[in-house]
Amino acid sequence: MTEEIIIAGFGGQGVLSMGQILCYGGVMQGKEVSWMPSYGPEMRGGTANCTAIISNQQISSPVLTEFDTAIVLNQPSLDKFEEAVKPGGLLIYEVNGMTRKPERTDISIFSIPAYDMSVKMNNTKVFNMIVIGGFLKVRPVIELENVIKGLEKVLPERYHHLIKLNEEAIHKGMDIVKEESAAV
């Protein structure tokens, strides 16, 4: 099993830590993982993305041009990465702020209104955990328990009381993710 994921969005959306959490979960599950951020121009602002790979074998290249899954959280990221999903692959997008829908017909496309849900949960910080939930629902590459274990590793001790909330957010994400068109 190898799952090659690109996660892309604005800088503040927690894109980089989503990748890290998935990878740490992978480690907990005894998998090989690699995480590679876009480290942009030495300057502020702009978009961010990271590549997360979770696999049973040793990982050759941490840098990819094609992905099994693209998780895109804003319009520029959809524009950039829709084409990079392998035929038969998966695209998950956050609906808020998209001005157009994905157009590919040869991949699975899911949407997730994670922002709205986070507002409903009264905590926009869990936004990215909701998205993770959505992804894991569609591609259960890591068991929830390991994701939580990973989270424990990533979060400093003093934030461990938030783990419950995050777990809840994951579940919400699993609930609200929705298939948009089923190609293949």
Partner: protein, 254 residues
């Protein structure tokens, strides 16, 4: 709302100078670099020296200054802008030459080039943006970081015993016979920005008279590096930076 007829060419009192290009600045919201750029560009505009000005951009957040100033520019290696400007001015003595440098660029790696250009009294203008941090590389400690101030390389606050003291380059270069006009300003309020502009204009005029090096420090903010909102950063700057780096002229030509 104001009557629409106010907005007509003859009523125009302020617009972006054409010496700034129309590119969107890449700086973070509220960063003083943009205002500092504009003040300098307005001076070039008002003196009518756009075609006679050559600028030198540093390595730092303002590395792309050449995209914004609509004058011929060179991008210098980190810290070497004063040496590059020396090479320019010595071979193009009739041009107006300026460097635009951050505090890492000017006061850390470029200490020797800065001091010696000033000591030789090179006839150009050094604009020194002191935001107490390495903005571009992600908020590391600069030579000008205040005691106790946090940065990514002084995560528990600058400890002057092990990390050294904030360096007042401006006071040092004022000691050198080669400098002609040395001043410290800011651009975070309209009054300060206007003062800065006047200082920059004076500096260009002295340059025309071959009076020696002019050195204009602009104490500025770095909302991203300081991890504050722009408003907080300006307030913090007034309360913490200005006491250490007091504004005003330090040396004026006699």
């Amino acid at each position: 709302m104001a009557e629409n007829n106010i907005i007509s060419p003859e009523n125009l009192v302020y617009e972006k100078t054409s010496v700034l290009t129309d590119r969107v600045l890449h700086y973070c919201p509220g960063c003083g670099h943009g205002t500092a750029h504009r003040m300098l560009a307005e001076v070039v505009d008002e003196l009518g020296i756009q075609g006679d000005t050559i600028g030198v951009a540093p390595v730092g957040c303002s590395v792309l200054a050449y995209y914004y100033f609509d004058v011929d520019m060179q991008e210098a290696a980190h810290g070497r802008a004063p040496a590059v400007a020396t090479g320019i001015k010595r071979t193009m003595p009739e041009k107006y030459v300026f460097t635009y440098q951050g505090d890492g660029d000017l006061a850390a790696i470029g200490t020797a080039e800065t001091l010696h250009a000033c000591n030789r009294g090179e006839n150009f203008l050094i604009v020194f943006i002191n935001n107490g941090i390495y903005g571009m590389t992600g908020g590391q400690m600069a030579p000008t970081t205040l005691p106790g101030m946090k940065s990514s390389t002084s995560p528990y606050g600058r400890d002057v015993v092990t990390m050294g003291n904030p360096l007042k380059m401006t006071e040092l270069v004022a000691e050198l016979p080669g400098t002609c006009f040395v001043t410290r300003q800011s651009v975070h309020t309209p009054a300060n920005a206007r003062k800065t502009k006047r200082a920059l204009k004076k500096a260009m005029e002295y340059q025309k008279q071959n009076k020696g090096t002019c050195f204009v420090e602009i104490v500025s903010n770095c909302p991203s590096g300081w991890k504050m909102t722009p408003a907080e950063s300006n307030k913090w700057m007034e309360e913490n930076m200005f006491p250490y780096y007091p504004l005003g002229d330090i040396k004026v030509p006699s």
